[in-house]
Symmetry: C2
Subunit: 336 residues, 2 copies
């Protein structure tokens, strides 16, 4: 006997299977004496409910699926934590899949979630997923997009206004009197990067005499940032920017190192530096980093909330697009 079933419990307790189920799910409907007998039978047999059977009968699971672009990115792990905590409060479980920015893996996870009959899906999409989402919706699985605003207003989404964030970062640098601003980031195909750059451009265009230089990187990593920083440091002093806006904090940390190597450029005196995301490490960097904070956990919990509401409602649910404002965090890298 691999494991006991309700039938075994019922037999041992001398009751029907229906009663065992009632003890488990509607204890108030069962007399105290019988409850006790059933409980002790459960203990004696080490009975554990079979989730697959429950789910089959229920028709839907108590899980929701989450597909993130990069599980190693602190932004997404915070987002996931936010979603998980909110889900736990409603007795739901979150299954996390890591697409690694690969459309194939994204699709595989969506397939898996469909087979599991998850209650809904949170998705930070790689490519154009709208057709796939419409298919999911037709099959009764609602989706909420995270960290991405959609043109398509028929889906709910929760995101941060990256355009405003970029504008905010650039405006801050401009307010320090800096005028030769460099944007470090890439690849440009990543929506968030493009939006942050567009926001920065907007702020810079509004100030006479301010210029924007774009330094493209291959990825959003510390090493890419370091390369960018070193290339700036190696320029003649007159050709260096006086401020850098990095598309995320990993790049900013790398840039900082590239600049400071061998007693090079002083941050913030010679070049002010600001990042994006406000990851935990930003505050602890050698020169604590200014950054644009995103409420990552809040994005996760809000998206989950929206999703559950949509899942519970009958069709005809009105999708909503939630956009959180980013927040400027000023630290040493843009002070002095």
């Amino acid at each position: 006997m691999v494991s006991a079933s309700v039938k075994d419990v019922a037999a041992l307790a001398g009751v029907s299977v229906g009663t065992v189920s009632n003890v488990l799910n509607r204890p108030q409907k069962v007399s105290a004496e019988v409850t006790l007998r059933v409980q002790s039978a459960i203990d004696k047999l080490g009975f554990v409910r079979n989730d697959a059977a429950r789910q089959l009968r229920a028709g839907m699971s108590h899980s929701i699926g989450l597909v993130v672009l990069d599980a190693a990115n602190p932004f997404f792990s915070d987002l996931a934590r936010g979603a998980e905590d909110r889900a736990a409060a409603e007795n739901f479980t979150v299954l996390v899949g890591n697409s690694n920015e690969d459309e194939g893996r994204e699709s595989a996870y969506l397939d898996l979630f469909e087979q599991q009959r998850v209650r809904g899906v949170l998705l930070s999409p790689v490519g154009n997923v709208i057709p796939r989402l419409e298919q999911l919706r037709r099959r009764g699985i609602p989706t909420v997009l995270v960290d991405r605003q959609t043109e398509n207003k028929s889906f709910s989404s929760v995101a941060v206004d990256d355009l405003a964030g970029g504008e905010m970062a650039a405006a801050h640098l401009l307010s320090l009197g800096r005028r030769r601003i460099a944007f470090v980031g890439g690849p440009a195909s990543i929506r968030q990067v493009a939006d942050r750059l567009a926001g920065a451009r907007k702020a810079i265009d509004a100030v006479a005499g301010a210029t924007l230089e774009v330094i493209a990187t291959e990825s959003l990593t510390v090493l890419s940032g370091r390369a960018a920083g070193e290339s700036i440091r190696s320029r003649p002093e007159a050709e260096r920017p006086d401020a850098i806006f990095a598309a995320n904090d990993l790049l900013a940390v790398g840039a900082l190192q590239g600049l400071m190597l061998m007693g090079g450029v002083k941050v913030p005196q010679e070049i002010a530096l600001i990042g994006y995301d406000d990851i935990e490490f930003a505050a602890a960097a050698v020169v604590p980093l200014s950054s644009i904070r995103q409420p990552s956990a809040l994005i996760g919990s809000t998206a989950l909330e929206l999703l559950l509401r949509e899942a519970e409602s009958e069709d005809g649910f009105a999708p909503s697009q939630v956009v959180f404002p980013p927040e400027l965090i000023v630290r040493a890298s843009t002070q002095g």
Copy 2:
């Protein structure tokens, strides 16, 4: 109609449900003509297998559960990736739970995994879980411990020899001629911390005139390390150690910052510094960090392999304890 079932597919294709199942699971047993008809019915109806029903019938799921101490720690996310990749190759899915070093959450995840009838569990344990694991085993769910050697040889485990790692780190510092060595780490209740310290002590005791000072920290974080570094910097020069071994890289990074603040102590000239884990950031720190590398992904994949082998075997499986050797990675923080 929420979603189509095999029955619907069978009806549309004009065959029996058994045949549909055969098309799905043993295509070679079905004639080409029928296969085609069934496939097109599947496509037309948008049929998606119900995993709960499959699993109920099969008696066991195609998932394995993994409980980690801290999902945000790069060491564990690498370990998880290793396990996931290996699992995917065998058509298994890994469900990741984060215990956050909390016994209650650990237990909740184990309950959940039991209800899901997972094929096995990988566990980086918080407290004394042996009784719980014996219970799981009785119910047919094998367990492999990760990142923890057990006294109890009846369970398989995959770990790195932290004692050897600690010894290796200290021996490296001693080989540089350093004699006043400080160990930065804590809380001591964490097994890994205690083992690394014990290893260091062993190496230091073997060298005449070498001393070991233990600087306890509250946690294994950058901020704790920074505090430790600052307190060392504020000492009179004669009372400072000439080398620091930090219990993990986050502490080492923090210590580095604490030491270097305000043009303080030079690393490695005045104080050599080595960390543990070799997280990605170590190589990219302002002074690239020497560290003790653990094969995190390999630990994950090996543990998964052991687990599957144990799950497939009938009872009478001989548990094995795999211990990987740590590896010394020398970078600038201990050179010069």
